[in-house]
């Protein structure tokens, strides 16, 4: 590295920006072709990752974890104690997250997850994050005016609630455990999982709706 690596990388970015095709799709296509030619990429592996994240890995993996925690108090205790280890018990939990922390919503506590510096997110459990999670509006405002942000998501919190924002600055990945709503007594795990939304596991949704559940 030269004495001023920041300048060097910045210069490379500028050069790339003026030479690469402006359309993202064309940039990606050129990158894929080049990596294959360079012996750095097997296109069949790209297909396999697309399939995994389009069909298998996604919010339903997180929903299964939440439903299990609602039904099994011992699992819930293990999940809150050490999320990484507890999730290994799940068949459908998705890929591993090495440092998973599960944070619980209660009547008195609401949790909201953000990554102000980039876009850290438990991909392997929730799938790729929504665009809004990666954009400046959410990243800038979630830590400073979370109640206003939550109102935009249709969530109005009680005035006296303990509101905790988790800024994912390290390799710990945070997953919110939402509250089980009333009216779901006696439901099995699968039915419970069907009412757990992606946003409820980020914290931008709070009151889950039993009528959204599959019978």
């Amino acid at each position: 590295m030269s004495a001023d690596p920041q300048k060097e990388t910045g210069d490379i970015h500028h050069e790339l920006h003026s030479h690469l095709p402006p359309e993202p799709a064309l940039r990606v296509k050129a990158m894929e072709s080049l990596l294959v030619e360079k012996g750095m990429l097997d296109p069949a592996t790209v297909d396999a990752w697309v399939e995994a994240y389009s069909e298998k890995i996604g919010p339903k993996c997180g929903a299964a974890i939440v439903a299990r925690a609602w039904i099994d108090p011992d699992f819930k205790a293990r999940l809150l104690e050490n999320g990484t280890e507890a999730v290994k018990e799940m068949e459908t939990a998705g890929w591993a997250v090495a440092h998973l922390r599960v944070i619980e919503n209660t009547d008195d506590v609401h949790n909201l997850v953000v990554c102000t510096l980039c876009s850290c997110y438990p991909h392997a459990i929730l799938g790729p994050p929504p665009n809004w999670y990666k954009m400046a509006a959410y990243r800038s405002r979630a830590v400073r005016e979370p109640r206003v942000v939550l109102e935009e998501f249709g969530v109005t919190l009680p005035d006296d609630i303990d509101l905790r924002i988790w800024d994912s600055t390290s390799e710990l990945r945070y997953l919110v455990l939402p509250q089980r709503p009333a009216g779901t007594e006696g439901w099995d795990e699968e039915r419970l999982a069907s009412i757990v939304t992606r946003n409820s596991m980020i914290g931008t949704h709070r009151d889950l709706d039993p009528s959204a559940g599959s019978a």
């Binding site: 690596p5 690469l20 993202p24 799709a25 592996t45 905790r164 390290s170």
Partner: protein, 218 residues
């Protein structure tokens, strides 16, 4: 680095797009870009922090306006150029003008299923020295950062907070971005939003994971 990426607490970005359709990818190229990054061979010194630092150095206009996965591709392209793996011309044309890069056989599709059986990358490391702080300790963050990569966001710098969890010793990102692997104690620190932004009538807490060398005793 005091870059545009350090967005916590900044103002003027408008409302969150809450109407976004809920789907894994919004276009084929997004899915392709995401999967290429998972599947491609990478030299061992392309750490996650080096990648993050590379993305942070995209110029601010592009950082705020180019699509997210386009920025991933842009950042890997910059890493390839910076490491001598490819030229700008090759990345523009998609055609290799030099020899293949020897990083071993690229991972096959079976590696996708196999990943389920392995823990994802581990960032915790053994650590023999004593931890400086414990749960309940009041700490103060450094008032400024440095020009390299850091995970100490500007909005908490120079503020007092309380250690609420001791997480263990984790790879220190500021040095990992420069290719040096060294572990340091990591703490989750709680700040009162009312201290971070006085006069705004805020009652929430912000919890952030911070490495030991970002913190001073009070």
């Amino acid at each position: 680095m005091d870059g545009i990426h350090d967005l916590g607490g900044r103002q003027g970005f408008g409302k969150v797009d809450v109407g976004e359709k809920e789907e894994a990818f919004h276009s084929d190229w997004e899915a392709r870009a995401f999967a290429i990054v998972r599947a491609m061979s990478k030299p061992s010194n392309w750490t996650l922090d080096k990648f993050r630092f590379t993305r942070e150095q995209i110029d601010p206009v592009n950082y705020l306006s180019r699509p997210y996965y386009d920025q991933w591709i842009q950042s890997y392209a910059a890493l390839m150029v910076g490491s001598g793996v490819a030229s700008v011309e090759e990345l523009a044309s998609g055609k290799s003008s030099g020899a293949a890069v020897d990083l071993g056989t690229p991972r096959g599709p079976e590696s996708v299923a196999a990943e389920k059986d392995h823990a994802a990358a581990q960032f915790e490391r053994p650590y023999d020295a004593p931890f400086k702080f414990e749960k309940g300790t009041t700490v103060r963050t450094l008032p400024h950062a440095h020009k390299g990569h850091t995970r100490l966001p500007s909005y908490v710098r120079g503020h007092e907070g309380q250690v609420i969890e001791v997480r263990g010793a984790f790879i220190f990102p500021d040095e990992s971005a420069e290719g040096v692997e060294r572990a340091e104690p990591l703490y989750t620190v709680a700040f009162d939003a009312g201290d971070l932004w006085p006069g705004e009538d805020l009652d929430h807490a912000v919890h952030i994971d911070l490495w030991e060398s970002y913190l001073e005793p009070v």
